[in-house]
Symmetry: C2
Subunit: 140 residues, 2 copies
DNA sequence: TTTGAAAATTGGCCTAA
DNA sequence: TTAGGCCAATTTTCAAA
């Protein structure tokens, strides 16, 4: 892990589909050098994967919410695990602060979101409180 | 925007570097069809870009925090805008719920994080309250 | 790092709906 | 007119030396 690896990571965070050849040109080195470094970074788990950044509203998901969950202490991990099973739950974090678990949840509209929160996710055993913060706009 | 577009999006969210040829094979169609659909999705802003998913701790960022900001109502937008200028601030959202602004902030350690919060970001005009929730683990 | 073969990308052109 | 298919030139990927 050196300066060049960090540069590669920076470039791939900006454009995850940039070709090794392009990165090599940008950093003034060879394509195979870049490819081997990227492969190593992937194997080491530094690069965990690649993803397309989607505008949820453009595919019909008009409600995206950062949702905090408070749980009974001993049910904490099982709640987190259950949350992951929902297709609408895109990300799950454990955290300090106001809530033990934070999740990013996508829903088509307010009705579907409340149905999801009250009738499905809310039914998970061990959840004490749900605190949704609906994202209005992603600025950065 | 049809079923096939949604499938393409799903595939590219799982692996943002998958080749058009591979996607075509998976969906039983031709490479050029995929290519033209992806290009259109990009032009329409459905696909906003691609990114490598990095494990922050593996590149020395041991503190990642979802941080809520309360602002004076009229300074709301300028605060959001100022936040975006910090390299350590990776994402900025406006939201309903407890806080008007939510940001994902990366720091190398607790010391750097508190320095950032108290001495730099905290100095932005219009901020009334900062509520950091440090992410312990990303499960999904 | 270099090299060469295999694979993917790209642009143009054609057909069909 | 638009989406899909086909082909040929170029570029990229990938493994072996």
């Amino acid at each position: 892990m050196d300066e060049k690896d960090l540069k590669i990571i920076e470039i791939l965070m900006k454009d995850g589909r940039k070709s090794y050849t392009d990165i090599a040109r940008e950093l003034g080195t060879s394509e195979s050098s870049i490819r081997k470094r990227v492969k190593k970074l992937e194997e080491e788990g530094v690069i965990k994967g690649y993803t397309a950044i989607i505008d949820p509203s453009k595919i019909g998901y008009n409600v995206v919410a950062l949702t905090g969950f408070d749980t009974e202490p001993d049910k904490f991990l099982s709640v987190a695990h259950e949350l992951c099973k929902f297709e609408e739950v895109k990300k799950v974090f454990t955290s300090t602060g106001d809530h033990m678990i934070m999740a990013e949840i996508w829903a088509k509209n307010g009705k579907e979101f409340s149905d999801l929160i009250f009738n499905k996710i809310g039914k998970i055993d061990g959840i004490k409180k749900i605190c949704p913060a609906i994202i209005l706009e992603q600025i950065k």
